[in-house]
């Protein structure tokens, strides 16, 4: 009971908007091609769950895989720059260039390279997730607790042990920030890529529904994407809070 109350208290704002939306659509009589109400969107979801499920599964899988690969790649390159200031001078500007190019502009180029299919979607998500991981891990590896660098010298630590026992653990809070930033973006990036290339997945479902003037379907797809984005953001925030609590 109290759990229900708590959930209501946390989400009454959203529920109010949905209610207002439903009432407004009913009263004003706008065409459903312009704007369907939440009830109609729910109905569309319930009518063809398989369609939404398979598209969602595909987008989610691509976003998750791309997220993991991008984070690993970013962290891996950050570790390389930690080893060598020469590499840092080479890789840091490259990383910044990559981050400054808008994804939308990259999609046609990458599609030429990887093909108009899932591989390009994956590549986009990897690139989107790479940058925060590279920057935040790089900063975290150098944000050491006071005196710890001296301590490791005195203990006669090898470079490898300095990395694994000091720099990497010290980078965990920053890496969790990168995870939070990248998690929500990875869904968005996957959908934008699917939307623009028009092949498959949630983004494609949205694009196809829109061109068919099937707004229920289009909005159902965006609703799913929103729920996933918010959920992944919340989960990643939890990881970040945990790291902040236990790491300082």
């Amino acid at each position: 009971m109290s759990a229900v109350l708590r959930a209501l208290r946390a989400s009454w704002g959203i529920l109010a908007i949905l209610l207002f939306w439903q009432i407004w659509v009913g009263l004003s009589g706008v065409n459903s091609i312009v704007l369907p109400g939440p009830a109609a969107i729910l109905r569309s979801l319930a009518d063809a769950p398989g369609l939404y499920l398979s598209s969602t599964a595909q987008t989610l899988a691509l976003a998750a895989l791309g997220l993991v690969l991008g984070l690993l790649l970013g962290a891996g390159l950050a570790v390389l720059t930690w080893f060598s200031s020469l590499l840092a001078g080479l890789l840091t500007p490259l990383g910044i260039i990559f981050a400054s190019v808008p994804v939308v502009a990259l999609i046609p180029v990458l599609a030429r390279i990887f093909g108009y299919d899932m591989r390009t979607v994956l590549a986009i998500v990897v690139i989107i997730s790479f940058f925060p991981s590279f920057v935040f891990t790089g900063a975290g590896l150098r944000a050491l607790p006071p005196g710890s660098a001296d301590l490791f010298r005195v203990l006669g630590a090898s470079t490898w042990r300095r990395l694994t026992l000091l720099a990497l653990p010290a980078a965990v809070p920053d890496m969790s920030v990168a995870l939070r930033l990248a998690a929500a973006n990875s869904i968005l990036a996957a959908m934008v890529a699917e939307f623009l290339m028009g092949t498959s997945g949630l983004g494609y479902l949205f694009a196809a529904a829109r061109s068919d003037f099937d707004m229920e379907k289009a909005l159902a797809a965006s609703a799913i994407a929103t729920v996933i984005s918010v959920t992944s953001f919340l989960l990643a925030s939890r990881v970040e809070n945990w790291a902040a609590r236990n790491w300082r």
Binding site: P145, G147, D150, V154, G156, L165, A170
Partner: protein
């Protein structure tokens, strides 16, 4: 007997380059020498370069002039062989490790198997039983310093450097820790260089006290401490102890500086 000193600081001058290119002389022609198994204390006012001497011996700083040697070799060799124990003034615990893991860290850094019994024994020794799983931020300043001391001791180092290890402790705990440290040291006779500005602590623990003056740091006096070992805490109430304590306090604050 081996004539080669365990630690030799010979005519060391240390200058720091400050912002704006000016130089600051922290140590001026400082010499001191520790025989193997000797306990020597650096006593001096704050800012006189005590920590700097320790950092030179730990190979964390290079002398601007003069020479530092440990067992006749460059001091960095000792740390490379995992034979140096240091408790820093700011304890330098890793915040993501609990007390037991912080104390076990030197094993891991040296690539050795963690001797859990040794870690547990040291936790008991520094009076932190029950806090094995606590994180540094949950401990008081004094408890953190005790963790740092345990960590410095865990590998049974051949040279021990302690930088005001009891600075954050209240007088009673400090006395208790002094007695414990004396006991540990009597068992292992590790060559130890201690930094303090507590005269009683210096007298109770050391074989020799090197008194430094500030700006720039210079050795003003070297005092041999005559008390037999093992030392019972009751020596702290003896007339000789009080007399030496007064002498040293005066050496720390020359009368000319007093109003």
């Amino acid at each position: 007997m081996d004539a080669q000193p365990a630690i030799a600081v010979e005519g060391v001058t240390k200058r720091f380059r400050l912002e704006g290119g000016r130089e600051f002389t922290a140590l001026d022609d400082v010499s001191l020498s520790l025989a193997e198994g000797e306990f020597v204390t650096l006593l001096g006012p704050s800012g006189c370069g005590k920590s700097t001497i320790l950092r030179l011996v730990a190979a964390l700083e290079e002398p601007s002039a003069g020479r530092v040697a440990v067992e006749g070799r460059p001091p960095a060799e000792l740390s490379r062989q995992h034979r140096l124990g240091v408790a820093f003034q700011d304890h330098a615990l890793l915040p993501w490790l609990d007390v037991a893991s912080n104390i076990a860290l030197p094993f891991k850094v040296a690539g050795m198997r963690v001797d859990a019994e040794r870690v547990a024994g040291l936790i008991r020794l520094v009076g932190l039983s029950g806090f094995e799983k606590a994180r540094p931020r949950q401990l008081s300043g004094g408890m953190r310093q005790r963790v740092a001391i345990a960590r410095a001791l865990v590998l049974k180092p051949d040279v021990l450097l302690l930088d005001e290890p009891f600075g954050a402790l209240d007088a009673v705990t400090r006395r208790g820790m002094n007695i414990e440290l004396q006991r540990i040291w009597t068992e292992q006779r590790t060559t130890t260089l201690l930094v303090t500005h507590d005269v009683g602590e210096a007298l109770f623990l050391s074989d020799r006290i090197v008194v430094l003056s500030g700006r720039p740091g210079r050795v003003v006096r070297v005092v041999d401490v005559p008390f037999e070992r093992p030392r019972h805490p009751s020596i702290m109430r003896s007339d000789l102890f009080h007399g030496m304590s007064d002498d040293l306090t005066e050496a720390l604050h020359p009368p000319a500086e007093l109003p």
